[in-house]
């Protein structure tokens, strides 16, 4: 019986294809928009997550803190507490982390013969490679001797190497670094592998020198910009974070003087931002679904009026109220579900195109698909009820004589 009612409903829709399609359009656009927005959001998030993860996994960043109340007249710059010798203490007192890496950077001009190139010099330690999963392609990275003796060794990013040394092997060659007007000669000891654009900028356009050389000869200040560390196997990010937090609090006595950030936190913030954005856009798309539903109700009401005679005939032939109700309800459900299906296809296509253009991973959110489809069904049901009830309640005598 339900199957028969369904067939009657489908036939009703087939008799007026253009109108059927037009009334489905609202649902198609609504469902398509919901799926495209949520999926494109997920794909973009996935892309950024991959980029953040590619910085190296399981990382904690410690940066100097700047509290609002003390920003201008502070007895001391919080950065000054970020000295190099803290690293050993962090290592000793925080078993939850390993490979503590200091980083300090500044703009430099590189010069080799007549070639000059603007770049960023990064002062760091030998553990930099392990933590960032970023290794030299030729030569070597900074080693302990470089650090101990503040040697003028430099490791070039791949782009820097190819631009300054287009004619040959840079290893063992000398280049001149200009930092705030001072010229210092460096010996190239290695060239990094290409890494490309990250969220921290293009790594291939930077050069790496021993952190001690940076503090002794370039900045001439004994503090660095930040530390980062990997947490040890067997420790959670929270445990590692707590240990570092405890150490810094003991050491500095003021929690406003430092900031600890974990990858989880960065991803969490990202999640929040993309989540809010998706929700907002999804809401707008939801409104278009609602408008689509009203379109369906409109068409169904027209359809009921148009087919008053048919309803009368069916009633005379023995259709009960529930048969007529079912026929029109199934019609609006069919409208919204077929619209929903087309919308899913369209949303998927849109997502596919955008992710292809952005070269992002394609993440089709199954929840969005289920939600959007379920919502369109619910709309078909909700907005179909009134016209269907109206049809079912028609008086047989009146509807038979309707012209």
């Amino acid at each position: 019986m339900i199957f028969e009612t369904f067939r009657i409903a489908i036939n009703g829709l087939r008799t007026n294809k253009l109108r059927t399609f037009l009334s489905m359009l609202g649902i198609i656009i609504g469902v398509g928009a919901v799926i495209a927005i949520v999926s494109i959001g997920s794909s973009a998030r996935e892309e950024v997550t991959v980029q953040i993860s590619s910085l190296g996994s399981d990382l904690l960043w410690v940066t100097p803190g700047f509290s609002a109340g003390r920003a201008t007249r502070m007895e001391s710059d919080p950065r000054e507490n970020f000295t190099l010798n803290i690293i050993q203490y962090i290592d000793d007192y925080s078993p939850g982390v390993t490979n503590v890496v200091p980083e300090v950077s500044g703009s430099v001009q590189l010069r080799r013969g007549d070639n000059t190139l603007n770049s960023t010099a990064v002062g760091t330690s030998q553990d930099f490679t392990t933590v960032n999963i970023y290794y030299p392609e030729r030569g070597r990275f900074i080693d302990q001797d470089d650090l101990d003796q503040s040697r003028n060794s430099v490791v070039l990013g791949s782009n820097v190497a190819s631009e300054l040394f287009s004619d040959g092997d840079p290893i063992g060659q000398r280049i001149r670094l200009n930092y705030q007007g001072r010229n210092i000669n460096f010996t190239v000891v290695g060239v990094m592998e290409p890494k490309g654009q990250g969220i921290m900028g293009n790594l291939d356009r930077r050069v790496y020198i021993p952190v001690t050389t940076f503090t002794d000869k370039l900045s001439r200040q004994n503090f660095v910009d930040l530390y980062y560390a990997q947490f040890s196997p067997g420790f959670s990010s929270q445990e590692a974070r707590n240990q570092i937090d405890y150490f810094f609090f003991q050491h500095l006595g003021d929690e406003n003087l430092y900031n600890i950030m974990s990858q989880d936190q960065i991803l969490g913030v990202l999640d929040q931002v993309t989540g809010t954005l998706s929700l907002m856009l999804g809401g707008i798309a939801g409104i278009s679904l609602l408008v689509g539903g009203i379109g369906i109700m409109n068409i169904m009401l027209v359809s009921v009026t148009e087919r008053t005679k048919e309803i009368g005939i069916r009633k005379a032939l023995g259709a009960k109220k529930r048969n007529i109700l079912g026929q029109f309800l199934l019609e609006s459900l069919a409208l919204s579900s077929i619209g929903g299906f087309i919308g899913i296809g369209l949303g998927y296509l849109g997502t596919y195109l955008v992710t292809r253009i952005g070269n992002w991973p394609l993440v089709l959110s199954p929840i969005a698909v289920i939600l959007a489809f379920g919502f369109s069904l619910a709309i078909g049901l909700f907005f179909g009820i009134y016209p269907a009830v109206k049809a079912a309640r028609l008086d047989p005598v009146d509807s038979l004589s309707y012209e």
Partner: protein
């Protein structure tokens, strides 16, 4: 058997009350062929709606095959219309864009007959009215006479106790009308109870009994054959 006792029907149109039937009583036995006649406004359309269980009387009793129709709710009325009454209308009232055989199947769909059986029975009925070769055509592809034959096949398909025809020849030319009346004669000979509502005396004369209505009352009730 149809038993009508003191049937009244009052229509309210705002303040104005119109009494379409003012107390009508008669009995129609199984196998009869009756014409209900009367000019427009005599109450014959109202009579047909009541007999066909499309509407309920204001007062009085109507028994159809022993059932007190006045006590039935909408659902039960639908079942009666489906199983015990077969309608034939002046305007044929076939479903457009639906094949002839599908049209004949409609009453069986609402009765819950299986698909296979529906198809078989629709073919059988269409063959009986001489349209077996037109089964897959749509109503707009056949003539008026043929449409009315389809309507008759549809009326017969659930084997009802009563065939109720409302001006069945009103939209047909005389020759075709006669053919349709011949078909009703045939059905009556097979034992079907037939009630025809008409205002045309030549049509009424082909029945075996004529009930004349005038101003909501029976003015005459005579057996003519």
């Amino acid at each position: 058997m149809i038993e009508v006792k003191d049937l009244r029907k009052v229509f309210k149109n705002g303040e104005i009350e119109v009494e379409a039937l003012k107390g009508v009583s008669y009995t129609i036995n199984d196998g009869e062929f009756v014409a209900i006649m009367g000019p427009s406004g005599s109450g014959k359309s109202t009579m047909m709606h009541l007999l066909g269980c499309l509407d309920q009387a204001t007062s009085g009793k109507y028994f159809l095959a022993g059932t007190d129709v006045g006590k039935l709710d909408d659902n039960q009325l639908a079942i009666i219309r489906n199983e015990q009454v077969g309608f034939v209308f002046q305007q044929f009232n076939l479903l457009a864009r639906t094949s002839i055989s599908k049209n004949v199947e409609v009453p069986m769909i609402y009765k819950g007959v299986s698909r296979k059986e529906r198809k078989r029975r629709a073919e059988e009925m269409l063959a009986q009215v001489g349209l077996a070769h037109r089964m897959d055509h749509n109503p707009n592809e056949i003539s008026g006479g043929q449409k009315q034959r389809v309507a008759i096949a549809r009326a017969l398909v659930n084997n009802p106790d009563l065939i109720l025809a409302d001006e069945p020849t009103g939209n047909l030319d005389t020759k075709t009308g006669d053919e349709i009346m011949g078909l009703f004669q045939e059905l009556n000979d097979q034992g079907h109870t037939i009630v025809i509502v008409t205002h045309e005396p030549p049509i009424a004369k082909q029945a075996k009994r004529i009930i004349n209505l005038r101003d909501g009352l029976i003015s005459s009730d005579e057996v003519i054959a």
